[in-house]
Chain length 387, copies 2
Amino acid sequence: MYRSPIARVGLIGGGQLGLMVAREAIALDIEISILDPHPFPPAARCAFRHIQGALDDPDAIRTLAENCDIISYEIETGDPGTLRRLRKPVEPSPATLEIIQDKLVQRRHLEGAGIPMPAFRELKTEDADETARILQDFGYPLVHKTRRGGYDGRGVAVINTPLPAGQNDPTPLPASPISWNGESYIEEAVSIRKELAVLVARSTDGEIRSYEPVEMHFDPSLNLVDAVIYPADIPPETVTVCRDTAMAAVAALSGAGIFAVELFYTDDHRVLVNEIAPRPHNSGHLTIEAAVTSQFQQHLRAITGLPLGDTTFHQPAVMRNILGGPVPGEPHYRGVDAVLSESEVSLHLYGKKETRPGRKMGHITATGADGWDKAHRSWRKISVNGV
Amino acid sequence: MYRSPIARVGLIGGGQLGLMVAREAIALDIEISILDPHPFPPAARCAFRHIQGALDDPDAIRTLAENCDIISYEIETGDPGTLRRLRKPVEPSPATLEIIQDKLVQRRHLEGAGIPMPAFRELKTEDADETARILQDFGYPLVHKTRRGGYDGRGVAVINTPLPAGQNDPTPLPASPISWNGESYIEEAVSIRKELAVLVARSTDGEIRSYEPVEMHFDPSLNLVDAVIYPADIPPETVTVCRDTAMAAVAALSGAGIFAVELFYTDDHRVLVNEIAPRPHNSGHLTIEAAVTSQFQQHLRAITGLPLGDTTFHQPAVMRNILGGPVPGEPHYRGVDAVLSESEVSLHLYGKKETRPGRKMGHITATGADGWDKAHRSWRKISVNGV
């Protein structure tokens, strides 16, 4: 038996992910409070309470927790120490957050659980000559990654050659946008046939359910997800491998919630875990229209102890992000009417009060037959501060 | 080109209809303000602004209108005069509201447009003997209806016999729960095979689109909608007649928005208009899951001048209302977990802070095959302050 509200959830971060969680919370009579530094973050539009404060401010987090039964997050930057000291359930667990925040620790942790991944090596020395020898030993091409803070392709560089940046460069290390001295590691540059993602939900009592994989396509210049497609164009046996791999990876972590497991499907038919987001994810937006249970409702069910929902997709779908055009400032939308005139195309605007070039301002999901054509046609018509 | 927000809509009434409109407004970046007398009405959970005030208070309505571009309503009790004086667009129009508010005026108006309806007759005399003669002339059984204020079956009585209530009753009039002296009228008691409803949307530029009809089933003791079923079990040619009749009825009224046209499908295969609600309606809740465009988003598109959405249903669905059980007061939900364990069953709780016997506290929509079984099984499991 439940009273109203059924649960009170505090979310660290009030961006578009928080917005879509808060929107799904309405029908379940779950009360959402958010912590966000901005005066008008997207999620404040349908949250019960907005605490304005820095995402890592222990006082603000404690204030958030005061009126909540469960704490969760839409961004992985929270301080696990602060979260542990709250004496309230935090889902997924601070231990998982700590593992996820350091990609090398994440790799090591998953390696211990036997999860297939690209080969990787730590770079723990400050000695450039020794680092150069490690790279030489590892072999080129390789991928250079920061351990912390990278997202949307930031903090990832493919290094094709051992040559330094210029003839006068005093270091023996190859050119990289990431500091070799910083906390970084290297990884096998696998030959990628497709980038896939599998959503996995775990309930508070440990039940795990996965969704079918989706294909992710990236914008090569902005390095962020440009399009997501369901179903992924991969063989049925690979679908099973993807789901099993993703579920095994999540089983190696603790805590309840939705997890997005990003996968590489390689030219030599391997399925390797790239990385895991312990939260709703851009790759799962199309579950709003195309799956029985959206990733946002699933996250709420998972963290509050409600039964997990059916993960079946009931129709094909294509999602495309709407990114801010070249002019920063107050957003002006063009093409809204054109998109809304398309059948089976859902428009999601995030209501951000300011746009920047490449900022995620909304998305489009086209369902049913010809999803790609409908999504692409709509996507070409709409712009935010475009030229 | 639009700025953010795309429109600012003021809604008179913040109950579950307003809640579901406000929830749909999020993705369209439409800002919703509501006027509602309660401190915590359902729609306040995701509205931008809540003005606490009586629904018919001219000052409160003006305050609502100050920060809005368009005024609409989720309940038909507003004062058309006040709305006309706002100098802001009111959709659907105050003229339509005025017609709808008086069921006899509605009947006469639709009669003028040639809309098929049950036969009806005004009762304008205060003379009981003359009223008795009018009834005798009209013939029994007949339906006695109040002109104003009836909803959910209130203000409607079937009168089978001309006999007065008791032998000592001094009036020659038959027994009726409605006053014969008040503003009432009588109507043909048609032999109803099915009660149907058709949603019709009209945009600000006059485009009209209809949905396919749904079947409405009523709780005989509470006299309110108990279940709604799509598709309606009627012949294809009757579907066409229903849609044409509903569109013709809406064409006879002015203003933009969604209209729910309630129809009688009679034993002698006539399709007759019962009444029209100029707003989202309980019969259309299943469009959230089963139609390309929900009635709530369609209403927002219609009143704000955005293009109308596709009205196609993409899957069968059954909706059942969750009504308050016998114990009034703070709601306690039983069976939430059981309902959420069913696949393809969506739970919608309205978050009302107080329940009363028969109060609409939420609804369930089951989609896909075996919708009736899934909906009924779920509906039997869930209760609010039941015994």
